[in-house]
């Protein structure tokens, strides 16, 4: 059994990547299973999907807590405590990160359990699809290639099948197939050891005490504690105010659905990057075009 866990953000096609791998493995004669985990999260928010590949009947369901192959489609997730993509992986887990950074540096910065395999998929997606979002095909192709169990032919057929479901045909399909060939060629299969089955040990089940109703029912007496959830990690683009140019008209403040642009004491707008989801409405609406749109990835990652 090979267990693949894919991490990315809503809108990046992580679910489709897991399905491309699932279908490709199926076409290559394996039993396979794929499964996305939907939460309440939306476009830009961390998403996780799973693929299981096996020669025998798969007797597992649901999330994969201990992955054999971990695909990280968006390196900004590495510093995201909510997504925690590394969680559950061990030294036996093969890590793949969509990044152009030095694997040694990534390992050191994020305390990774092993040296990751890297490839700059984002650049390739821009090149082939004219889209900076990591698309399903690139990550799916990377995952399929790394397993060493899926032929290019089966992978291409799988991509055709899965993109057809999404209504992608013609030239866009061909571009995706070219992208798959490129990614397949750029990576080599890795050795993924079959995990030994461990003996079961009993769960530490507990006897819950009855609590008084306030502690026993879904009641929140705190107010505005939503602020503790940092949605800044949703950003793919980063708005940056050019204060030289800004005339403090506060249109950005008025238009921001999240209310994360504040007026500072001098009357200047200030963006709360902990929460800004990167919708880029402010940049679009700024009458003077004083808000720049930057790639979030171009910002240096801050290790945890």
């Amino acid at each position: 059994m090979l267990r693949v866990r894919s991490h990315g953000r809503g809108g990046q096609g992580i679910k489709t990547a897991s399905q491309i791998m699932g279908t490709a493995a199926f076409l290559s004669g394996y039993q396979s299973q794929d499964f996305p985990l939907y939460g309440a999260e939306r476009r830009g928010a961390p998403i996780v999907a799973f693929t299981r590949v096996s020669q025998k009947t798969i007797l597992e369901r649901g999330p994969i807590s201990l992955p054999d192959l971990l695909l990280i489609g968006d390196e900004t997730l590495l510093e995201d405590p909510q997504a925690a993509p590394i969680c559950g992986s061990d030294e036996q887990t093969v890590l793949f990160i969509n990044s152009e950074k030095d694997p040694q540096i990534l390992k050191g910065s994020f305390n990774l359990p092993s040296l990751p395999v890297t490839c700059g998929l984002t650049k390739l997606c821009l090149q082939y699809l004219n889209d900076g979002m990591v698309r399903s095909t690139a990550l799916g192709a990377a995952g399929a290639r790394l397993t060493g169990r899926i032929s290019l032919e089966d992978l291409l057929e799988s991509v055709e099948i899965e993109l057809d479901v999404m209504g992608i045909a013609g030239q866009p399909l061909q571009s995706n197939l070219d992208l798959v060939r490129e990614v397949f060629g750029a990576l080599n299969p890795v050795t993924i050891k079959e995990r030994e089955e461990s003996a079961l040990s009993p769960s530490k089940l507990m006897v819950l005490e009855q609590k008084e109703v306030q502690d026993a029912a879904p009641i929140i007496t705190a107010t505005r504690n939503m602020v503790q959830r940092k949605t800044g990690n949703w950003r793919i683009h980063r708005p940056e105010i050019d204060y030289e140019d800004c005339n403090n008209c506060m249109i950005c403040y008025a238009r921001c659905p999240e209310g994360v642009i504040e007026m500072d004491p001098e009357g200047k707008p200030v963006i709360d990057y902990d929460h800004c989801k990167g919708c880029m409405i402010c940049a679009q609406e700024c009458p003077k075009h004083s808000i720049k749109t930057l790639w979030e990835m171009d910002y240096e990652l801050e290790p945890q």
């Binding site: 009855q210 029912a217 879904p218 009641i219 929140i220 007496t221």
Partner: protein
């Protein structure tokens, strides 16, 4: 007891329910009519309109709306009463589940009536059984007196800090809802001493005390925690019922237990029943005893929480038990039957035989003769299916109707 403290009056089951609510000093009734419950809300609307009761009576647009308004008002700190029946219970089911999970206290009365299809006005217990898993406390009344007393006790149980769950009091449509019998109406002052005005033990909606309630959860662990707490609180309600019943007995002289044992101790055959037809069962027990059959009856006054231990203790040592379900889960049989069997399973001296009987559906009578048939079936070792109380007379009557219906 000073006779001035109490007064007896001829009351229907519905009026008794209204009196229970009145004596509980209810402040709010969101209402919607449905046969055979309507008399309850009509009575209460009169009392609110003429100043007998203080607070508000709101005519709602459906039971779904009504139960939601009831829960929301309880969460805002007033004492709430409401009532429904049958299709209304089903229409309101989503709201009932929802507000039960909020863990807010109030009392609702269900006047039992069978469910469509076919649609009928007459009683059976499928409606109240539909609320079995909602997380309500359920008290089932046999007499008009019990209706009144259970409503009054219901508030005490619902509002107990360790319970905080809505209580449903069930009475049979028609047979009890429209039957008049003498009912002791407790003195208002005594009722107030027993049940002081509502003082919520949990935060209620106030500008000075903002809160978010019933927010969505993600993750099965959080969901499971709240659900287990709901289970623990519901189970706690049996202890609280017993405490409440003790205090009630001291004040008003009437004693209640989760299960009532009628000639059970030396019985060889015990009928398990609930609600008004238990009266008929008791009569049958006395007649069977005259005919040399040592019969007894166990009446379930409490159905949620399920008083499994009390039931098991009562039935221990008894050879034969017949569970008479006035409801039907097609493909399974009576709904209470498997619960009784479960309660007995790990008892050494469990009955040799527990029979499922399904009768009294859609207003069909359970005759005293039926009880002898049940005893006979209990002696027949071949019975695998439930015993349906449907006799040759029923069959010939139906055939006549069908002759008219079909060409």
């Amino acid at each position: 007891m000073n006779s001035n403290l109490n007064k007896k009056r001829m009351l229907t089951g519905n009026k008794a329910a209204a009196w229970g609510a009145r004596l509980a000093g209810i402040e709010y009734v969101p209402a919607f009519p449905i046969t055979p419950q309507t008399e309850i809300v009509e009575t209460l609307s009169q009392w609110f309109a003429d100043g007998t009761l203080q607070g508000k009576f709101t005519n709602m647009d459906s039971e779904h709306s009504m139960f939601m308004a009831a829960g929301a008002a309880a969460a805002t700190g007033v004492r709430v009463f409401t009532a429904s029946s049958s299709q209304g219970i089903l229409h309101g089911l989503e709201s009932i589940y929802t507000v039960a999970g909020w863990r807010v206290p109030f009392v609702m009365v269900n006047v039992s009536r069978a469910l469509a299809t076919p649609i009928t006005l007459e009683p059976d217990h499928n409606d109240v059984m539909a609320t079995r898993d909602c997380g309500l406390i359920q008290l089932h009344a046999e007499t008009c007196q019990e209706v009144l007393d259970f409503v009054l006790m219901g508030y005490k149980i619902a509002e107990h800090p360790l319970v905080s769950i809505p209580v449903l009091v069930n009475l049979d449509g028609f047979v009890l809802s429209f039957s008049r019998e003498p009912v002791m109406i407790p003195d208002e002052k005594a009722a107030l001493e027993f049940l002081p005005p509502f003082k919520p033990v949990q935060p209620v909606f106030r500008a000075s005390q903002p809160m978010a309630r019933a927010s969505a959860v993600f993750g099965g662990g959080t969901y499971t925690y709240f659900r287990i707490q709901q289970d623990l609180a519901a189970r706690q309600a049996e202890t609280v019922f017993n405490e409440t019943a003790r205090e009630f007995a001291e004040r008003f002289g009437r004693t209640y237990e989760p299960v009532e044992r009628f000639h059970v101790d030396d019985a060889e055959v015990v009928f398990v029943m609930s609600n008004s037809f238990a009266t008929k069962g008791k009569s049958a027990v006395l007649k069977l005893r005259k005919q040399g059959i040592k019969a007894g009856l166990l009446k379930l006054s409490m159905f949620r929480p399920f008083p499994g231990e009390a039931i098991a203790n009562a039935l221990a040592g008894c050879q034969k038990v017949a569970v008479i379900d006035q409801n039907l889960a097609p493909g399974m049989g009576g709904i209470i039957y498997p619960e009784i069997v479960t309660a007995m399973y790990d008892k050494k001296d469990r009955p040799k035989k527990i029979l499922s009987v399904v009768g009294g559906l859609g207003g069909k009578d359970i005759k005293e003769d039926d009880f002898l048939s049940i005893v006979e079936r209990l002696n027949d070792s071949e019975s695998k299916r439930p015993l349906y109380l449907f006799d040759e007379g029923d069959w010939s009557q139906f055939q006549q109707l069908q002759k008219i219906a079909l060409v």
